[in-house]
């Protein structure tokens, strides 16, 4: 109620310049929303269109010749199924491992009376700025026999100084009295971490879990670099990349494809695979908004 009152009182006072401003703002936002959404919705339309028909072009937001064949074909491809399985696995395992270790590390360095808190903190902050580079890291993983295993996805990036810092900032905001009163009751550090601090840290844990999960889900370069030879360890994103590469190399022969009889084309298949790949994240992120917004603002640092 009061909101509309505010709007009406504002409207009364609007000058020409203000009207120009609001018009400009509305147009800007409309263009912004269209430019952001159109490509995604267009891909969605193409994915539900008959593949051969889609090559004629002219599909915008609504499929012209509805078909779910692209999805059926994609879901029948073994590589993509393996990829989906590995993607889900690395997202779950990677997020859990990363969240648990980063939370413990943050807990340790945020204990004000821990003797080595500062040293450990510095040790980790340095890793944010000094990086061995692609080749030494590649040879290291090879030497550790991590290449061609699932673990290369989840072990190396597990502890991250950035995520630790975000959690630490949050933990620093928790009053010391919580820890002190627990200690008086005879609680050890393990109990304090599990029973006192962690329940209070749920919002920041959610933020970090989201960051890590998105990172894991979207990764493809580590697949290409370390596990290219193991088809059993491929991921959705990597399979999608291979599809994209095949489409771009064939785009010149799109003309010839029009004469083929199959109603499945690389273009429609890639559209379907793209939608499948983005679906989980698109469904989840709107509900986690408050977490990542507060997490980003809290860390005071951008990813």
């Amino acid at each position: 109620m009061s909101k509309s009152e505010v709007t009406t009182t504002k409207k009364k006072k609007l000058s020409t310049a203000d009207i120009a401003f609001y018009t400009f703002n509305t147009i800007f936002m409309a263009v912004f929303v269209i430019v952001t959404l159109y490509p995604v919705l267009n891909t969605l339309a193409i994915s539900f269109n008959d593949g051969l028909d889609a090559l004629r072009g002219g599909i915008y937001l609504i499929p012209r010749k509805f078909s779910v064949k692209s999805y059926i074909t994609v879901l029948k491809k073994d590589d993509l199924l393996v990829g989906a399985y590995i993607s889900v696995a690395r997202t779950i395992v990677g997020t859990l491992l990363s969240l648990v270790t980063c939370a413990i590390l943050a807990f340790i360095v945020s204990r004000k009376n821990f003797l080595f808190a500062r040293h450990l903190s510095l040790f980790w902050v340095i890793t944010m700025y000094v990086n061995g580079g692609m080749i030494p890291i590649f040879l290291l993983y090879k030497g550790l026999h991590l290449t061609n295993t699932f673990w290369v996805y989840v072990i190396p990036g597990m502890v991250s100084a950035f995520n630790m810092l975000v959690i630490r900032t949050y933990m620093n905001g928790i009053p010391d009295s919580f820890e002190e009163s627990a200690q008086l009751d005879g609680a050890g550090y393990t109990t304090i971490f599990l029973k006192i601090i962690s329940p209070l840290c749920k919002p920041v844990y959610a933020t970090i879990a989201l960051f890590v999960a998105v990172y894991q889900w979207n990764s493809w370069f580590d697949v290409m670099l370390y596990n290219r030879m193991s088809s059993k360890l491929t991921t959705l994103q990597y399979e999608l990349m291979k599809l994209l590469a095949s489409v771009t190399s064939q785009s010149t022969s799109a003309q010839s494809m029009k004469n083929s009889t199959s109603s499945i084309t690389p273009v429609s298949m890639r559209a379907a695979a793209t939608i499948i790949t983005m679906l989980p994240i698109v469904c989840i992120y709107p509900f986690l908004q408050q977490y990542f917004v507060s997490g980003l603002t809290l860390g005071g640092v951008k990813e």
């Binding site: 504002k10 000058s15 310049a17 203000d18 401003f21 703002n25 800007f28 936002m29 912004f32 929303v33 952001t36 490509p39 267009n42 891909t43 072009g57 413990i104 590390l105 340790i108 204990r111 004000k112 821990f114 003797l115 450990l120 890793t127 700025y129 000094v130 990086n131 061995g132 580079g133 692609m134 080749i135 030494p136 890291i137 040879l139 290291l140 550790l144 597990m158 502890v159 010391d176 550090y189 998105v214 889900w217 979207n218 370069f221 994103q237 999608l240 990349m241 994209l244 785009s251 793209t274 790949t277 983005m278 698109v282 992120y285 908004q289 917004v293 980003l296 603002t297 005071g300 951008k302």
Partner: protein, 315 residues
């Protein structure tokens, strides 16, 4: 209370120190784990930098490979390709930083001016979407949009802006703008979060005062909002300058092709090509060392600038 404890700690007697150690054994055991992990995965690769000064052979290892001093660096810097690659990395990094920063600020300011909480929320939710998509998906979408029969060419043709469809991926002059646009498309909403937070923190009485002085929306933005978020803008810019060289891999790798490789290749792609594909580990390492060195220098400079601004955010 906490302060007292901390002061006590800095000059604890030995007996007390041992007692503390005993009480904190859980923390210490975990610390040992985290130090071991960090040494293995973050510090050990730094030893690999020695390869940049060797003619590294996998069968000899770092201990027995032949030392060649700066030879690899010399051959790098006499290679016109590598010099071009440095230029590309720097140019795209700087263009992207400027473009994404300006767009994020503009978006944050305008979003803040939307009347109606619901409308604002919807636009904002949509604006985050591209951040969560992988570069694979984003480049796929770009390929579609910019292809011969894509929406961009269709619009250009319909309004008679071009005589025939433009092949955007075949011309060098389009590559950097396409990369900048892709970055803006993907990150504007996300980057705006922090600016929006800064705008929300501005004292509302400043706007009221401005309104009493007869300021319209434009004036309020110019004289209240922008000065209010200036320090946030400066800090974020400074922090990101240090990362300028890191911003050049995925999209360039995925979008680049033989026709534009003179302007599309970045340092990381060069390292991948020579280090991994050609197995010249020493050359790849040397190219990577140079990148790290420049990055560290940039970060140190930025840190100094940040300190002068009265902000100590980096170290």
């Amino acid at each position: 209370m906490a302060q007292q404890k901390k002061d006590k700690l800095s000059n604890i007697p030995k007996a007390e120190f041992v007692k503390q150690l005993k009480r904190q054994w859980v923390l210490i055991v975990w610390s040992i784990f985290f130090v071991a992990y960090g040494l293995l995965f973050y510090y050990a690769p730094l030893v690999g930098w020695l390869m940049g000064f060797q003619q590294y052979k996998p069968k000899d290892g770092i201990l027995h490979s032949k030392w060649i001093g700066l030879e690899k660096f010399r051959s790098l810097f006499s290679d016109a390709t590598y010099l071009g690659v440095i230029r590309n990395t720097l140019a795209m990094g700087v263009i992207n930083l400027i473009a994404t920063t300006i767009m994020a600020i503009l978006f944050a300011i305008l979003l803040n001016e939307i009347v109606g909480v619901k409308k604002k929320k919807v636009v904002q939710t949509i604006s985050y979407l591209p951040h969560f998509l992988s570069w694979i998906i984003v480049t796929g979408i770009l390929h579609d949009a910019l292809s011969g029969s894509g929406i961009v060419n269709e619009l250009l043709l319909r309004f008679h802006l071009v005589p025939q469809a433009v092949n955007f991926f075949a011309h060098e002059e389009y590559f950097w703008p396409i990369v900048a646009f892709a970055n803006v498309w993907k990150e504007t909403g996300w980057n705006a979060i922090i600016y929006l937070a800064a705008i929300t923190a501005i004292d509302p009485s400043l706007y009221e005062a401005a309104a009493i002085d007869g300021a319209g929306r434009w004036d309020k933005i110019r004289y209240v909002t922008i000065p209010g978020i200036k320090s946030t803008i400066i800090i974020l810019l400074i922090m990101n300058v240090g990362n300028v060289l890191n911003a050049g891999f995925e999209i360039q790798y995925l979008l680049g092709n033989g026709l534009v490789q003179r302007v599309s290749q970045t340092i990381d792609i060069y390292v991948l090509k020579w280090g991994i594909s050609q197995m010249d580990y020493s050359l790849g390492t040397a190219a990577g060392i140079f990148k790290s060195a420049v990055s560290i220098v940039l970060i140190l400079i930025c840190n100094e600038v940040a300190k002068r601004h009265g902000e100590e955010r980096l170290f």
